[in-house]
Assembly symmetry: C2
Homo-oligomer: 366 residues x 2
């Protein structure tokens, strides 16, 4: 906790839940950290995100460590075991996850599989007595999200949704600017995230595995931004879509745009695309100015700006490490997480309404 | 025509209509300009726009000049006559406009009155044998726009809509980038214009005079941008609105957001606000990058940027002078104008659909 930006972020994240009932100095915290047993994290799904982002981040975490893997691809296990010094007993397949119940090295399962497999893997992990951190979107329907919540509640385990941006200092400062109305009340939020999704054979383009295309995969970042900036749930959404490559995007949405109204009167206009890369921002316009992050959602290089020229700039952090350390802290301190399963389910509810609006041609009340 | 940016813009504007059937060099054009009689413009409505922008711009025009005024406020006439050396016979009220038929000094009437008076003043001007240039939005309904078109057609006079941005070099270059697909096909356009509309007693907040609020007054700029960048008409619009001050905005929209799909698959997401000033941009995202103007719609200070870092920058021009000079050129050369009455009517048609979408809660096909 020697990096001031990190300390600032952790304070912000903590403040957003419940003020911690104890005061600790850097020294006492350093002592506590030294004596603390790190929580073991098993990565469930060893795709690019796990390989390139999460596993390296786990080497930087203070409160947790990579302790196991779950994969359906046996060819991957040897390299992972060697690279991260994992014992054979901490390597699982999707079919042997229940055996984790006997493995005290593993406290948390981080589910990084395709969207529509999150329920199955979350239930397996919770039934094995593990806390579950799950990639976004939480699942492909509200009903399936609810089943995940129920499974973790029954097992008395914590469920978190991997909304890393909520732990990033530019985003936290943006939330503060919005909530404290430093530039006046926010009236309009523009938010969009578009990527060139890449090869046509990936699971993101298969509806059965993804539950949807651009909206589910990247639109959720823009939707999240409108929700955490306002601190409110949208009450009405209206959406349209276009498809310029009906072969590649036969099963899922290519480009979607939506508008959303919030109870306090904020109006959001947003987009998500698997075709037009380069949109990656939000801008909140208030009565006396605006603030913007662009890029807002990338793994690194987040940049902020304000209409009044004041800085909106913080040193970079590893967002994957930050979110996992906060999740471990919540487990240790028996605190709720700001990125709960409920929080993940709320976005799935809004995205379902956006798809309903596209399908029916009607504005949808939520 | 010695300013290279001006020449570039004029070429662009001309090319967008019909290639001129003659070739002129700077020298021959300078000679022609010297011998040419400037067309006389009467300003109909002497509010802030006429006072602060249009009358000063008419002092810089090459092909036209301020030749008369029409006002309902007799107290204004003396100051205007003195400042611009106008003869008594070229001063009219809204009730005496028909007498313009006898005034050869006046070739064009520039209608700068509240939206819902455009029809009446256009018909009066056309029946007096004058060409009509009219502020945006053209009128408050498609039917009333059509009556304006009909009146000018019957009188064999040209009708133009004061879309000054279409003559501004950053906008023309943006149109070129989109149409020539320099960064690949455009997929998504974000566009928004918001102002703090000011005092509550103005005609813009009275539905009978304005026909609508933020959308009609400033949203039309964002809508125009999506239309001239694509060169297409939207086929489906979906919109929502919010109102945080129902007293001030009792009669008209405060903040509106809409999405629009275009035949080629472009998706636009847009906003207009009378509350949240500071939004004033468009950004077009294509397959290989994006380009943006921000500010895009102000009277001056237009700034452009491209994702590839190449410049999107031109010397400033007086847009009011440029549009009037082009309208005069069209009259002299008997060419159509790129900002025709039809062009103005098309935007009114889309705005009507946006209001329909808000009222019915349905996406509206156009």
């Amino acid at each position: 906790m020697h990096d001031p930006s990190r300390r600032r972020f952790m304070q912000g994240a903590t403040a957003a839940v419940i003020a911690a009932p104890f005061i600790s100095t850097s020294t006492t915290r350093a002592k506590a950290a030294a004596s603390r047993k790190k929580l073991g994290v098993a990565l469930c799904g060893l795709g690019r995100l796990s390989t390139n982002q999460i596993a390296p981040a786990l080497q930087k975490t203070e409160r947790c460590r990579l302790a196991g893997i779950v994969t359906g691809t046996s060819g991957k296990t040897q390299a992972w075991r060697q690279k991260y010094d994992l014992p054979a007993r901490s390597v699982y397949t999707y079919d042997t996850m229940q055996r984790m119940a006997d493995n005290e090295d593993i406290d948390i399962v981080y589910v990084v599989t395709p969207n529509a497999l999150h329920l199955e893997h979350t239930v397996a992990a919770a039934q094995a007595g593990k806390h579950v951190y799950c990639e976004k979107p939480l699942e492909i329907s509200v009903e399936r999200c609810q089943q995940m919540l129920d499974a973790c509640k029954s097992a008395e385990r914590l469920l978190g949704t991997a909304y890393r941006c909520q732990f990033e200092p530019h985003h936290r400062e943006s939330i503060r600017l919005a909530r404290e109305q430093e530039l006046g009340p926010v009236r309009i939020i523009e938010a969009g995230f578009g990527i060139d999704v890449g090869p046509p054979d990936q699971w993101r383009l298969q509806h059965a595995l993804s539950g949807g295309g651009a909206l589910m995969d990247v639109g959720v970042y823009a939707l999240q931004a409108t929700r955490y900036l306002t601190g409110e749930e949208p009450v009405l959404v209206s959406a349209t879509e276009t498809k310029t490559d009906p072969v590649k995007f036969k099963e899922v949405d290519e480009t979607v745009a939506w508008t959303a109204t919030f109870p306090s009167g904020v109006l959001a206009y947003c987009t998500a695309s698997f075709k037009a890369g380069g949109i990656k921002n939000f801008r909140a316009t208030a009565d006396r100015g605006w603030f913007e992050l662009d890029p807002a959602y990338y793994y690194s290089g987040i940049k902020g700006s304000r209409s009044d020229g004041k800085p909106l700039s913080f040193p970079p952090i590893d967002m994957f490490a930050a979110q996992l350390d906060d999740f471990a802290r919540c487990i240790e301190e028996r605190q709720p997480t700001i990125v709960s399963g409920e929080e993940g389910m709320r976005d799935v509810r809004v995205m379902t309404a956006i798809y309903d609006s596209i399908r029916t041609g009607r504005a949808v009340k939520i």
